[in-house]
C-alpha cells in the first residue's frame, strides 16, 4: 500500500455491498451446496446473485415454479445431507410453512432467509418485521421451533449465515434468518471475510444405501405413542437450544432508566434514538435480541428489574411484544411503539416515546414503578398513528408521517 489511499493502510479492503447480495455470497462461502428460490421483492437480488454464482461454481441452483417448489427442492437436497439455502419474503414464507414443518419433524437442516415486507396479504414491498409470529412461534403445523437469527447490519447478516448453517447441522433443524427489506436493499461497506463451518459426520441422510442399510427421512409416525416419544425428543432438543444458543447484544446498559428492546432495523432506529435521548439527559439503553428464538428471556428479566420502563420498538403491530412481556413478568411497565405496512419508525418517534415514558414513570426506592392515578401506564400497544398527540407535561409527539414516507 502506498500513501495515495486516504484510508489507513491497516484497514482491510472493504466492499460496498447490498444486503441481499452479501447474504448470498456469505452463504456460498459458507459452503452452500444448493440454492432454490422464486422471485419476490425485496429479496430478488439474492436469487439473482445465486443464479450467476452457483452454476459457475458447479453447485445447484433452481428457480422454482413457486415457493412451494423452492422449499421442497430444499427439503430434497437437504435430506441427502447437502448444505442448502432457500430465501423469500413474507408472502412466499407463508407458502413455505408446510415444508418447514416437515423438515422440523424429520430433522432436516436447512437455512431459510426471510427478507420481510409489509402484510397482511400481498401487502407492500416496504420493510417490515411482521413475520415474527410466523417464524418465531413455529411457522407451520405441529409442536416445533426453529432458531431464528435477526441481523441488524449487513456485516452481521453475513456472519449469521455461517452461524445458521452450523446451528442447523448441529441440531438437525431448519434455521431462519429474519431480515427485512431495509437490510436487504441497503448497501454498507463490509470486509469480505467468510467462515465455512466444518462438515459434521452424519449418519441420518438419505444419500443412497451403498454398503449400508437403507434409511428413510420422514416425519410420518402414525402410532401416537411413538409420535409422542418423537415429540419428547424434539422438545429436549429445543430445551438444549434454549440453554446454549441465546444471543443478544446490548448498548448503554450500565445505567438505563428506560430499556428499549428491538431487533434488526428497528434496533438501529432505536440506537440512534437512544443516542439522542442520552444527549438530552434521558438515560436509555438497548437490548437487541440476535436470536429471537431462543429469546433472551433471562437477560431481559435481569435488566427489567432496574429500569422504570421497557419500550419495545418494532416494524409491526407488536409481535415480539408478547415475548418481552413474558420475560419482564410485570417487573416494569412495557410500552410499545411500532409502524406497519412497510413504514419505519423514525429516531424522532422513538425519542418521543422515551420522553413520554420517562414523564409518566418515576424511580421508587431504587426500583422503578409507574406512577398511579395520574395517567394509565401504556401496557397495551400504543401503535403510532403517525399523528402528533398532545401528551402531559407538554411533551408533544413529533410530526411523524412525512418523514417515514421517505422509506415507502
Amino acid at each position: 500500500m502506498t500513501t495515495a489511499a486516504v484510508a489507513p493502510a491497516t484497514m482491510p479492503e472493504r466492499v460496498l455491498w447490498k444486503g441481499n447480495e452479501a447474504i448470498a455470497e456469505a452463504a456460498i462461502q459458507a459452503g452452500c451446496d444448493a440454492y432454490f428460490g422464486y422471485p419476490i421483492t425485496p429479496q430478488a437480488e439474492l436469487l439473482e446473485w445465486m443464479a450467476r454464482r452457483m452454476p459457475e461454481l458447479g453447485r445447484a441452483f433452481v428457480q422454482a415454479e413457486s415457493e412451494l417448489g423452492a422449499i421442497n427442492m430444499a427439503l430434497g437436497a437437504a435430506a441427502t445431507g447437502k448444505r442448502v439455502l432457500v430465501s423469500s419474503s413474507s408472502p412466499g414464507i407463508s407458502l413455505m410453512a408446510e415444508a418447514m414443518s416437515y423438515m422440523a419433524g424429520s430433522e432436516v437442516p436447512v437455512v431459510l432467509v426471510d427478507v420481510m415486507r409489509g402484510g397482511p396479504g400481498l401487502g407492500s414491498i416496504g420493510p417490515s418485521q411482521s413475520d415474527y409470529l410466523q417464524l418465531v412461534k413455529g411457522h407451520g403445523h405441529g409442536d416445533y421451533r426453529v432458531p431464528v437469527l435477526a441481523p441488524a447490519s449487513i456485516a452481521e447478516a453475513m456472519a449469521l449465515v455461517a452461524d445458521a448453517f452450523e446451528l442447523a447441522e448441529r441440531y438437525r433443524t431448519p434455521v431462519a434468518i429474519l431480515a427485512d427489506g431495509a437490510l436487504g436493499q441497503a448497501m454498507e461497506p463490509v470486509v469480505p471475510e467468510y467462515r465455512e463451518p466444518p462438515r459434521r459426520p452424519s449418519t441420518w441422510q438419505a444419500d443412497t444405501a451403498r454398503g449400508r442399510a437403507p434409511r428413510v427421512v420422514k416425519s410420518l409416525i402414525l402410532r401416537p405413542e411413538d409420535l409422542e416419544a418423537h415429540n419428547r425428543d424434539l422438545q429436549a432438543k429445543y430445551r438444549s437450544i434454549e440453554e446454549h444458543e441465546v444471543r443478544w447484544a446490548g448498548e448503554s446498559l450500565d445505567d438505563p432508566e428506560i430499556l428499549v428492546v428491538a431487533y434488526g432495523t428497528a434496533a438501529r432506529v432505536a440506537r440512534t434514538a437512544i443516542a439522542r435521548a442520552r444527549a438530552a439527559g434521558l438515560r436509555a439503553g438497548l437490548l437487541r435480541p440476535i436470536t429471537l428464538w431462543p429469546f433472551p428471556t433471562l437477560a431481559l428479566r435481569g435488566l427489567a428489574r432496574h429500569v422504570r420502563a421497557v419500550l419495545v420498538v418494532e416494524l409491526s403491530a407488536g409481535q415480539m411484544l408478547d415475548d418481552v412481556r413474558i420475560a419482564v413478568e410485570g417487573l416494569a411497565p412495557v410500552a410499545f411503539h411500532g409502524r406497519t405496512g412497510g413504514m419505519l419508525p423514525s429516531p424522532g418517534d422513538v425519542v418521543t416515546e422515551l420522553r413520554r415514558l420517562w414523564s409518566i414513570t418515576e424511580p421508587v426506592n431504587g426500583r422503578h414503578r409507574p406512577q398511579r392515578g395520574r395517567r394509565p401506564v401504556p401496557t397495551e400497544p400504543t401503535l403510532a398513528t403517525g399523528h402528533g398527540e398532545q401528551l402531559d407535561e407538554g411533551v408533544a409527539a413529533e410530526d411523524l408521517p412525512a418523514l417515514a414516507e421517505v422509506w415507502r
Binding site: 422454482a64 415454479e65 417448489g69 430434497g76 443412497t208 444405501a209
Partner: protein, 279 residues
C-alpha cells in the same frame, strides 16, 4: 430339505421368489390392492438392473406413503404433491443417484399439478411411477381429478358430474407435450399380461434415466376395490372400463420417435434455443 446322506440332489429351480429389494413384511394395503403388484415390479427391476444401492426414492402422501417400508432403498418422505420438487432437489445435488418418485393420482394430478408439470418441463432426470386408481383411497374414497365421469365416490355420491366437478385429467398426455420429457406410457395391473407390459415400461423408463435422458413417467392404472365398492376380481375387471378413459400404451418415447412431443415441427418449435434440457 436336502440331506447329505442322500447324495447330491438336483439344485432347486426357482420359479418365483421375493426380490431382494422388496422387504419381507406384510403390507398395510387392502386385500386386492394393486400397489403391491407395482411395488414388486419396481423391486424386481431394482434387482435386475442392480440399482437398489444407487437409488434415492421419494415417497408421496396417500395410500402409498408407506412405500418406504416395502422397497429397500433410501427414501425421503415428501409433503403432499411436492414429490417432484423434492426429487428435483435430490437430482440436482446427487448426480450419480437413481432418482425414483412414487405418486398417486390425488398427489400428482391434483395438489401437486404445478410440481409435476415443472419438474417435467425442466427435464429433471427422474422417473415417476404414477399410480392412478381414480380415487383418494387413504382418506376414505373421495373423488380424485382422475375419477371417471359418473363414478360414485364418497364426495361424488351421485356419480361424478362434469357440470359440478369437471372432467378427468389425462395428465400423462399433457406431460408428453413437454420438451423436457423423454418417456411417458400408461399400463394397467388388470391381468398378468398387462402387468408384464407395465414392467417393460418401467424398465424402459429406468434405462432412459440411467442413460442420461430426461424426465420419464409410467402411469399405472390400478384398482381400489374398497374405494370402488367392488370385490378384488370385480375391480380388476373394471380396469378395462377405466382404460377407455385412459388408453393404454406408450404415449411418448422420444428417442424411438413415438409421441406428440417428437412431431418434428412441434419439437423444434418447443425446443427453441435450449436444445438440451438441463440434467
Amino acid at each position: 430339505m436336502t440331506t447329505e446322506a442322500t447324495g447330491a440332489p438336483a439344485p432347486p429351480r426357482i420359479l418365483y421368489q421375493r426380490p431382494r429389494a422388496l422387504v419381507d413384511k406384510s403390507t398395510h394395503y387392502c386385500p386386492g390392492c394393486g400397489h403391491g403388484i407395482i411395488h414388486r415390479l419396481i423391486a424386481e427391476l431394482l434387482d435386475e438392473l442392480e440399482l437398489a444401492q444407487q437409488t434415492i426414492a421419494v415417497a408421496p402422501v396417500g395410500c402409498s406413503v408407506f412405500a418406504y417400508d416395502y422397497i429397500a432403498v433410501d427414501w425421503i418422505e415428501s409433503p403432499h404433491g411436492r414429490a417432484p420438487a423434492v426429487a428435483t432437489g435430490v437430482r440436482r445435488t446427487n448426480s450419480d443417484a437413481f432418482v425414483l418418485v412414487y405418486q398417486g393420482d390425488g398427489d400428482l394430478a391434483a395438489i401437486g399439478t404445478a410440481e409435476i408439470i415443472h419438474a417435467a418441463a425442466r427435464g429433471e432426470r427422474i422417473t415417476t411411477v404414477f399410480v392412478n386408481n381414480g380415487i383418494y383411497g387413504m382418506t376414505g374414497g373421495q373423488m380424485a381429478p382422475t375419477t371417471l365421469l359418473g363414478q360414485k365416490t364418497t364426495s361424488s355420491p351421485l356419480g361424478r358430474d362434469p357440470k359440478l366437478a369437471g372432467y378427468p385429467i389425462p395428465i400423462s398426455e399433457m406431460l408428453a407435450l413437454l420438451r423436457g420429457v423423454d418417456y411417458v406410457s400408461r399400463g394397467s395391473v388388470a391381468d398378468p399380461p398387462s402387468v408384464g407390459k407395465v414392467k417393460a415400461m418401467l424398465k424402459r423408463a429406468f434405462e432412459i434415466q440411467r442413460a442420461g435422458g430426461g424426465f420419464t413417467l409410467v402411469e399405472v392404472l390400478s384398482n381400489c376395490p374398497v374405494g370402488w365398492g367392488m370385490t378384488a376380481p370385480e375391480s380388476m375387471a373394471h380396469l378395462a372400463e377405466v382404460a377407455e378413459t385412459y388408453p393404454l400404451g406408450v404415449i411418448l418415447d422420444r428417442s424411438k420417435g413415438i409421441g406428440p412431443g417428437v412431431d418434428p415441427g412441434l419439437s423444434t418449435r418447443l425446443a427453441g434455443r435450449a436444445e438440451e434440457a438441463p440434467r
